[in-house]
Amino acid sequence: MILGADLLRIEDLSISFAMVGGQVDAVKKASLRVLPGKVTALVGESGSGKSVISQSVMRILPRIATASGRILFNDPLTGKQTDILQLSQDGPDIRSIRGRRIGKIFQEPMTSLSPLHTIGDQVSEVLTIHEHMTKDERYERTIEMLRMAGFSKPERAFKMYPFELSGGMRQRAMIALALICRPALLIADEPTTALDVTIQAQILRLLKDLQQEFNMAMLLITHDLGVVANVADEVVVIFHGEVMEAGPVEAIFRRPAHPYLKGLMAAVPHFDMKPGERLKALREVPVNASHLLDAAGTRKTTGSEILLSVRHVSKSFQIRKGGFFRPSEEAAVRAVDGVSFDIRRGECLGLVGESGCGKTTVSKMLMRAVTPDSGSITFNDHSGPVDVLEAQGGDLQKLRAKIQMVFQDPVSSLSPRMTVQNILAEPLEIHDRGTPKSRQEMVGALMEVIGLNRRYLNRYPHSFSGGQRQRIGIARALALGPELLICDEPVSALDVSVQAQILNLLKDLQKDLGLTYLFISHNLAVVDYMADRIAVMCAGRIVELAPRETLMRAPVHPYTKSLLAAVPFPDLDRPLDFSALKAASASDMRNWSVQFQRDSAGDGLATVDLGDGHLVLARRNADVRELRP
């Protein structure tokens, strides 16, 4: 092996899918490479073929796909060069590479894990396949890997099933799974989308460490140009399956040349945007939003000021302890712990927080998908207050039409056996809106506003890219023209330009129609762009809630501060200070100043009003002035 030769060389790779109406070319003669120990970032628009390329490297393309070209893998261990496309589908050659020499983090962690097996089982299995180890050794190694991946209680996580984990936790499990064999090449397809910035930083640091320690190379697929700027060595920009621009990270960030890349750079939301400034999407889709949603039903913006008020809701999940037959002494995990907030009509409330802190659980409780153990939720509509938790029959049905949700995991929230057409038309059918024909029209219009071509209407969810699916989820939520839209990571899988397009759309709808949002996201810049007020959650509680400006400029709570400190910027001159980020520390109360810590009795925390709607969780007796920075 020539030292420093390409670890992975993809030459003229073309991939097409045989579909009913003819073939779809997802990748057209793309070439790229990854150097040993280096990181090649693959960026590009949603649906441009990034994931497909990464699949072809592992030879795990769907059956209907055909690939041509060469994918050369130089195994530094053996020095042999193999053309992966020439290997037999599931033969021993490719198997000895998969998992051991090349690890892959899948884009959609939920569906990528088997629901029937524990996390520990699935992660340690890689070791069983490739390494000769005793059971105990495997356990040790897995626990260690899980801890490195950011699980604070890896022993517990080992025994948990995927559906018991939050989105971010699943993603971390996926990361652990990919890394456990210390592969020479890691293919990371959107590895941090579901992670909050502190944990993201922690993961990035982990990857960097591995890179240095084991000379691990990485093919990183991401939309977050901030991440690219922080970790990549080389960048490949891809659009519609074709490479548009490629080069060292310096060149790409400092001298973007191709109009597409320039457009991308411009579409990134940043913290210093002026109020009212719009994101510049690569393409603006003119949307007659009011027409779109008026078709769904007329709306009134009158009514009380507060649309939804949440009071002291809590939710615990039972955690299994002990064996199968022993009566489990049930321990509970407080996923949500006395959360209260209001959402005002027409505003966008941002909700940020650590991965696994209970954001999704809160949002599901608002939808009555999860029943809280205690607390109350009132929806204040023009027809008077409705107790969300008690509504029945017709009231509930009306409520359902008024509150909609975009799910965090787009794949599993779309019925796998329904075409997009049917998925989007379904809410309209349920609420008996319009005629079959007008529904058809409506569905077409929805597809357009989310930037998907109408010709995809007859495809099934699985044949879309991650971002495309996420957009379908958004379109479905919009179909009924709800008053309150709960968005759980609605843009995490979107590249910046499409993201800009979608965010603009949401903004427009808010402006034109007075739509109200609860916007959950890990991307603080996005929240900053969207939200009027922002709530920060940590460990099941809201630790700080303030108008956007206040929170961004003058955060009070230490957790908020550490969040803001961990944001990666798409700027080579503002690299993250990895060494400053201590592992699993941001949410660890012990690192906070005393005012924010629980007292020795185990509680004594209360919401303290700092004025101007700035609330923070601190010791009951804490001095307001002391808290202010």
């Binding site: 629901p115 029937l116 097996h117 099933y161």
Partner: protein, 332 residues
Amino acid sequence: MLRYILWRIAVMVPTLFLISVLVFTIIELPPGDYFESYVSELRAMGEAADMEEIDALRERYGFDQPAPVRYFHWVGGMLHGDFGYSFEYQLPVSDVVGDRLWLTVLVSFVTILFTWLIAFPIGIYSATHQYSWGDYGLTFLGLLGLAIPNFMLALILMYFANIWFGTSIGHLMDQRFLNEPMSWEKAKSILEHLWIPVIIIGTAGTAGMVRRLRANLLDELQKQYVVTARAKGMNPFRALVKYPLRMSLNFFISDIGSILPQIISGAEITAIVLSLETTGPMLIKALQSQDMYLAGSFLMFLAFLTVIGVLISDIALAILDPRIRLQGGSTK
């Protein structure tokens, strides 16, 4: 989990009660009673029955009493381990059943084993090699087994086994071993005869299992987690067994409870045709001649096994699928 199991066992009591009522109704439904049919049968042969004896028996078994009284008599007896009296054999039911029970268990067990041993590999093969010649061929064979009625297959196999291998016709063993204690020779003879009923009873079920397994596997094989497993570098076969197969087992496990009655139902006619020394022919005969305690106790015994089977199936389902175990109790 333990609580769940205890709760499920508690629920079995009313179920068994319901079943016993149903069983009793079934055996009481046809008009007349055993003695009626006994007298008729004798008369048809030109024989006479001793009416004295029959009247005495009638009285003794409370045939002059209303049905509920008889029901409680019967159930009460069973609770004490007294399964009643067979009029046909003029012996206590437990004596009559004797050997047949374990032979039934043997045949059923071997049949189930046979079905699984055949169906699983074929199902997996068919799913992974969809539309290959093997898939078609095995499908065809399986369906052939399904398409030929059991009794016909029984006749055909019996006839040719006799012509080609000289296996004596019908029965589970050569007749000279009938009343003998177990010996090596006898066991051999049983094995020699066993394959015919097992094939006959097994084939019908096998095709169904193969097809269902194949269908379920085909669905699961598309799932993303299979791709994940492949990406781990897992051997495709082991991956298949660990992930999609386990998922596909859902239907199979939910069926465990009914396997026994199904096998026994399927076996009944075969057993009649082949004149097997199992409980099937005895049960049918008891039903037809209205030997009610024999039939009733038999059915209750079967029902009991089934209820246990369902229990096992429920527990296994919970073990198999954590989603059912951890969230299954809730109501939507």
